[in-house]
Structure formats: structure tokens, C-alpha cells
């Protein structure tokens, strides 16, 4: 598994497309996909939003993440701000953080994209 992370709109998806020769059809979107199809995807983007949907449908996102077997996972970094006032937003932010740690731990490589520039922060340098 390869994890691509970074803030919003930093070029994570573009990086995945360029590096792995993916097209839009290869990338499933955690915000809109059919959750039962996730297992068949080659790449998912917005994993943090999939976490939110899993919480809403009553599935344990951490168990789901532990069992996840996908070549490429794209996930925004969302924890570097102020603690949200809304309890469900707090819960989402917290569980996303833990889910991200599970993915990074499983991943053989973690890439962080900032301003379009990718830095390998875990694993072999490209």
C-alpha cells in the first residue's frame, strides 16, 4: 500500500495520476463512492471523507481501515487546526487521525504533497 497525504488542494491526486498512470476511472472518491465497492478499487481519494461516511452508517472506521487492502490511498491531513465546536466534527477529526496512522503504518511508502511538491516521508526515496 502507498499512502499519499497532505493538505487540501496540494496536488495529491495529480501526483497519483502522474506517477501511477491512473485515470479518473481508476480513482474512487471516498465522498461519493458506493462503500461496498471500495474493496475493488485501485486507488481511493478523500479517505478522510470515507471515514466520515463510515461513522454515519455505524461501521467502525478503524476496523475497516485495518482490513483495507488497496494499492494507493489518498488522504487529506485534517488535524492541524482548531478543535471543532461540533461534537461529531471532533469525533470525525479524531477517528480520521487514528485511521491515518493505521494506513501510514501499513503503507510501505508514505508521500506528502505540499504545493505540488511530493516528499517521501516513509519508505524508499523515489
Amino acid at each position: 500500500m502507498i499512502m499519499i497525504t497532505g493538505g487540501a488542494y496540494q496536488g495529491k491526486t495529480q501526483y497519483a495520476e502522474n506517477r501511477f498512470g491512473l485515470t479518473d476511472d481508476d480513482i474512487t472518491d471516498g465522498n461519493t463512492c458506493d462503500i461496498s465497492d471500495v474493496a475493488n478499487a485501485r486507488c481511493i481519494r478523500h479517505y478522510e471523507l470515507l471515514v466520515k461516511r463510515l461513522i454515519m452508517q455505524g461501521t467502525d472506521p478503524l476496523e475497516f481501515t485495518k482490513n483495507l487492502d488497496m494499492p494507493i490511498v489518498i488522504m487529506n491531513e485534517i488535524g492541524s487546526g482548531i478543535i471543532p465546536l461540533d461534537k461529531s466534527e471532533r469525533e470525525w477529526r479524531e477517528i480520521s487521525g487514528r485511521a491515518g496512522c493505521i494506513i501510514a503504518d501499513k503503507a510501505i511508502e508514505v508521500v506528502r504533497v505540499c504545493c505540488g511538491i511530493a516528499t517521501v516521508i516513509k519508505g524508499e526515496t523515489l
Binding site: E77, G79, I82, I95, G100, C101, A104, I121
Partner: protein, 173 residues
């Protein structure tokens, strides 16, 4: 040796910080700055306690004023976390204050009594939301405090979903 660990929420900062003190021999102190108010704070404190269990830490709870902590002899200190300390000091009284100098003085006080000190802080300024003047001030102070701590630290790392990214010095894990 002073090490600062920063990063977003729930991204493995504590775990990394504790790991850095795993091989330290001698007295280990955990200075907790989070006020145990409310169900979620209790849950967070309990979770951190479980992670630390069996690692031989003595816990000191201090929500403001690190410079008042009395420690005899040299210790290995884990201070967690600056974001809570800063909020506690800033919003302690009705009129908000700028606790920057007080926090740095407190850290210097601890450094003199520590063989090793690992400080955990938080990145709070990267969500792009305008929260209004008081919270915006907090974000500003946190940015400045973190930069000042970086200045006096030997090592600084940012934790990204559990992966340490070294920004200054080096980590011995």
C-alpha cells in the same frame, strides 16, 4: 537534550514522544497540562494514561505556570502539551493575555532540571478558518510560541499520521 514534537490532532505525537524517552534511565516525569474537565477530556487523559502505563512515569498535573514546578535532581521530562497550556494561560482570566514569555520562561525552568525534555505541541493554524479575534489571537500566539521553542530545541519533528518528519536535528528512535 530538548526535542519538540509537533503535528495535527490525533496523529501519533504522544506515542512518538514517549518512544523517545524509552531508553532513558532515571526519573521520568510526565507533565500534563490538560484540564480534566468534561467527558472527552477524561477519555483523552485515560487513553494517554494507558499508553504510558508500565513505562515508569510519575505524573505531575500543571495547567498553568510551568515555572512553579519544583523538581529536585535531573529528570527525563515529557511535557504535554503546549496547545492546552497556552489556552489555559491565555483564557484563564476574563481579559485574555499573551502568555508567550511566561510559557518560554516555564520551559527554560524545566530545561534546567531535565537531562532530556520532550515537548509535545500542536499545529493549530492550518485549517484556514477565521474564528474571530480571540481564537485568531490564540492561533497567532501558538505559532510564535512554537517557533520560539524550536529556537531553543536541539531536535524538532512533525508527526504526520504517525510518521516523523525531522525538521531540525535528529531523532533517536
Amino acid at each position: 537534550m530538548t526535542t519538540l514534537i509537533t503535528g495535527g490532532a490525533k496523529c501519533g505525537k504522544s506515542r512518538l514522544a514517549e518512544k523517545l524517552l524509552d531508553n532513558c534511565r532515571g526519573r521520568k516525569l510526565y507533565i500534563a497540562t490538560m484540564k480534566p474537565f468534561g467527558e472527552e477530556a477524561f477519555a483523552a487523559i485515560e487513553r494517554h494514561r494507558k499508553i504510558r502505563a508500565g513505562k515508569g512515569f510519575e505524573t505531575i498535573e500543571k495547567y498553568t505556570g510551568l515555572d512553579e514546578i519544583q523538581i529536585s535532581g535531573k529528570s527525563h521530562i515529557l511535557l504535554e502539551c503546549i496547545a492546552n497550556l497556552c489556552a489555559n494561560e491565555m483564557f484563564e482570566n476574563e481579559k485574555i493575555c499573551d502568555p508567550t514569555e511566561h510559557i518560554i520562561r516555564g520551559i527554560e525552568h524545566l530545561r534546567k532540571r531535565a537531562e532530556t525534555i520532550v515537548i509535545v505541541t500542536n499545529n493549530v493554524g492550518s485549517d484556514g478558518v477565521d474564528y474571530g479575534s480571540e481564537t485568531n489571537k490564540y492561533i497567532e500566539v501558538m505559532g510564535r510560541v512554537n517557533a520560539l521553542i524550536t529556537g531553543i530545541s536541539d531536535n524538532v519533528a512533525e508527526c504526520v499520521y504517525g510518521v516523523p518528519v525531522v525538521l531540525k536535528g535528529r531523532l533517536e528512535i
